[in-house]
Symmetry: C2
Subunit: 374 residues, 2 copies
C-alpha cells in the first residue's frame, strides 16, 4: 500500500451567485480542492470525499506544508479507496477556513473580511457547490460520495437531492440528524466562543484579535465527545502528570487535563471561530426527515436508484450505532440496496479516522464492489 | 406526607485551625447548617445529609427567602427520611458559597476576600468538619450519613475514616472515583471560568467583577452531563423555539439551547466561581482506593461494622450503575452488609433529586430498617 505522494491544492472560482437554503445568497466563491488518481475515459470512476467539522480538501498525500491528508490511511494506491482504480476528489466547503471562500476572506460588498456576515450554509448548500465542482471536472455521475460524521450527512444529502448524479453513498459514523444532546454540546461550544470578549460579535479580524479562549474551550468540549469513555480510561485513566498532587484548582494534575489543554491550544492556533459557529450550525440544521413530517423513509424515496454502505462504531456515543440503524431502516423500508457494518472498536467517534482492520476491510470490499458496479 | 415547614439556618464557629489533606490549613471556619426533627434522648436518631456541587445546608423545608430545600421531596414528616423519627442535619461545606466559610468571605490573614487563596479541600477534609459539627451537636454516633453524587462520596468517606461514628451509609448515584471523562468535563468547565478575563486569577471580587461568562459555560457543560440523552430527547428533542429557523449562528434556534442558556444565566447569578473550581477539584481528587494501590476492597476493610445502601440509576451516564457496582463488589468482598438498588429511571444523574416512586420506596424501606436498627 502506497501513498498518493505530494499533492497540491487547486482552486476553482464560481462567479455565479449561489442561492442558499436560508434565503441568503453567496455572491461568488472559490473552492479549494485536491484530486488523486486519474479520471477514466468515460469519467465513471470518480469518488467525492466530504469533510467534517475541522477537516479540509486535503484528504490524502502530503501537501506543500508536509501535512498528511486527514484520511490518508484510507486513500492511496492499494488502499481501501484505491487511487489506482478511482479518481478521488477532496473539496473544502465554503464557510470553512482552509482555502475555500469563508468568513476570514474578503466580502466583496464591503471590502472587509466577511466575519460574522458570512451567510449560514447548510449541508444541502454544500452539496450544491460540490455538484458544480464535479460538473466542471467533467463528471456527470460519481461512482460514490463518501464521508464520515458531518461528511456522511453530505453523502446522504447527495442521494436525497441528486440521486442520479451518484451510484453509491458511503456514510460512516453519521446520523440522520443531531439529538438534543448533540445540539446541546454544539451550543455550549458556540457560547464559549461568542462570549469571549475577543469575539467582537464575529468581527474580531477588524480588531486585530482572535477569540482563542473560546475556541480552546469549544475544542476541549468537542474532543470529549469524539472519544469513548473507555478509550479515555485506557489512554489516560486517573494518571497524574507529576508524582504528587499539587492540590491546586488551576494547575494541571491529571494527564487527561494536559491532553485536553494541548488539543485546545493547538486548535485555537489554526481554526477560525466563525467557521466553528457556521459548521456546528450546519450540523444542527441537517434533518432530511423534517420536510417529510419526520418520516425518514419518505425522505429517501427518491434515492431508490442508489446503493448504500453505512458504517458505525460500537463505542461512538456522539453518533451511536442506533442513529445509523435509523438510516438503514429508512433505506430498507424503501427496498433500497444497503450494506451496514457495526464495527466493534474502542475509539468512539474518532474511530472513523483510524486504521482499524475490520473497518478498512469493510471499506475495501465495498469499494471493490463500487469498482465493478459501473 | 408533610413538610418540615419554615426553617432557619444556624451557624457554628470553629476557632481551632483545621489541618487539610493538601498540607494547608484552614485557620478558622464557620459552618452553616439546618436541622429538622428532634434529637432523641440517647442521640441515636441523627442522620447527616451531605451535599453535592451546587447545593447547601438547606436540604428540606422553606427558608427565609421562600426557597424549598433541595431534597425536600425525600425529607419531612412521613417522607422516606421521616423527620418524625429522625433528627436530620444539613450542613454547607467550607469552600462552598451558601453561608459556610468560603472564598467569598474574608481571609483573616489579609482582611480581604479569600478568592483564589482559599485552600483546596478534599472530601475527607469535609468529613473532618462534619465530624466536629456532629460532636458539638452532642451526637457520638450517627444513625446514617446520606448523600447523592459528591454527597455520596462524603458518606463513603465517613465509613472509611470514622466507621465507629455512623451505623449506616447511604450513597446514591455516586462513584468510587471520577473517570477520565468525568475529570475532562470538570477541566473544561474550569478552563471556561479561569480563561474568563473577569476571573482575574480568582481575585475578581477585588476588581468588582464576576466571571459570569465562564460560569455560564461551566454550568451548561455540567447540565448536559446531569441529564440523560433520552430525557433530553423527550423534553426538548429538536423542537424549535420559533415557527421557522432563523439561520443564525448566534440566535436561539432550538428549545434545548434556550433551556441551557437559561440554566447558565441563572447559575451565574448565584454561584461563586472559586467555589466551582474548589468543588470540582474535590470531585477529581476523591479516590479512596489510591492509598491501597488501587484496591477498593482494601480501602473498605475498616468499614466492616457499617451497613450500606447503594442506589444507582440506569440512565445516569455521569456516575453510571457500573461505578456503584464497583463499590458493592468491594463491600461484598469484605462481607459487609450492603443493599443495592439499580433504579430504572429516564432522568440520568438528576434522578437522585427527583421523586421516583421506586427510588423513594427503596429509600423509605431502608430508613425504616435504620430506625429499627439502633
Amino acid at each position: 500500500m502506497g501513498s498518493v505522494g505530494r499533492v497540491q491544492a487547486q482552486f476553482m472560482h464560481f462567479g455565479e451567485p449561489l442561492a442558499l437554503h436560508s434565503g441568503g445568497v453567496l455572491p461568488e466563491y472559490t473552492l479549494a480542492y485536491e484530486t488523486y488518481g486519474t479520471l477514466n475515459a468515460d469519467a465513471s470512476n470518480a469518488v467525492l470525499v466530504c469533510h467534517a467539522l475541522n477537516a479540509s480538501h486535503h484528504v490524502a498525500g502530503v501537501d506543500e506544508l508536509g501535512n498528511l491528508g486527514w484520511w490518508d490511511n484510507l486513500i492511496g494506491p492499494g488502499k481501501p479507496l484505491d487511487t489506482e482504480r478511482f479518481f478521488v476528489i477532496g473539496v473544502n466547503n465554503p464557510g470553512s477556513c482552509f482555502g475555500s471562500t469563508g468568513p476570514m476572506q474578503t466580502n466583496p460588498a464591503s471590502g472587509r473580511p466577511w466575519g460574522a456576515d458570512f451567510p449560514v450554509m447548510t449541508v444541502e448548500d454544500w452539496v450544491e457547490v460540490q455538484v458544480r465542482l464535479v460538473q466542471h471536472l467533467g463528471i456527470t455521475q460519481l461512482a460514490a460520495v463518501l464521508g464520515g460524521s458531518l461528511g456522511g450527512m453530505q453523502a446522504l444529502a447527495w442521494t436525497l437531492r441528486y440521486p442520479q448524479r451518484l451510484r453509491h453513498c458511503i456514510a460512516v459514523a453519521t446520523a440522520p440528524n443531531l439529538s438534543a444532546q448533540n445540539i446541546a454540546f454544539n451550543e455550549v461550544a458556540r457560547r464559549a466562543i461568542i462570549s469571549d470578549p475577543d469575539f467582537h460579535g464575529g468581527h474580531y479580524q477588524l480588531q486585530g484579535v482572535l477569540p482563542k479562549r473560546g475556541l480552546r474551550v469549544a475544542r476541549m468540549i468537542g474532543h470529549i465527545t469524539y472519544l469513548s469513555d473507555d478509550v479515555m480510561d485506557t489512554k489516560f485513566g486517573r494518571r497524574l502528570r507529576a508524582a504528587e498532587l499539587a492540590y491546586s484548582t488551576q494547575a494541571i494534575e491529571f494527564q487527561i487535563e494536559s491532553y485536553l489543554r494541548h488539543q485546545g491550544d493547538k486548535f485555537s492556533e489554526y481554526f477560525d471561530a466563525n467557521t466553528y459557529l457556521l459548521i456546528t450550525r450546519a450540523l444542527d440544521y441537517f434533518d432530511p426527515a423534517r420536510a417529510h413530517g419526520g418520516d425518514l423513509a419518505a425522505a429517501f424515496e427518491g434515492a431508490r436508484g442508489n446503493r448504500f454502505l453505512l458504517v458505525s462504531f460500537t463505542t461512538d456515543w456522539r453518533f451511536a450505532p442506533e442513529r445509523s440503524r435509523e438510516i438503514v431502516k429508512a433505506l430498507v423500508d424503501n427496498r433500497i440496496d444497503v450494506s451496514y457494518a457495526e464495527i466493534e472498536a474502542p475509539h468512539g467517534h474518532d474511530a472513523f479516522l483510524l486504521d482499524d482492520p475490520r473497518y478498512h476491510g469493510v471499506m475495501a470490499a465495498y469499494f471493490d464492489r463500487v469498482a465493478h458496479d459501473v
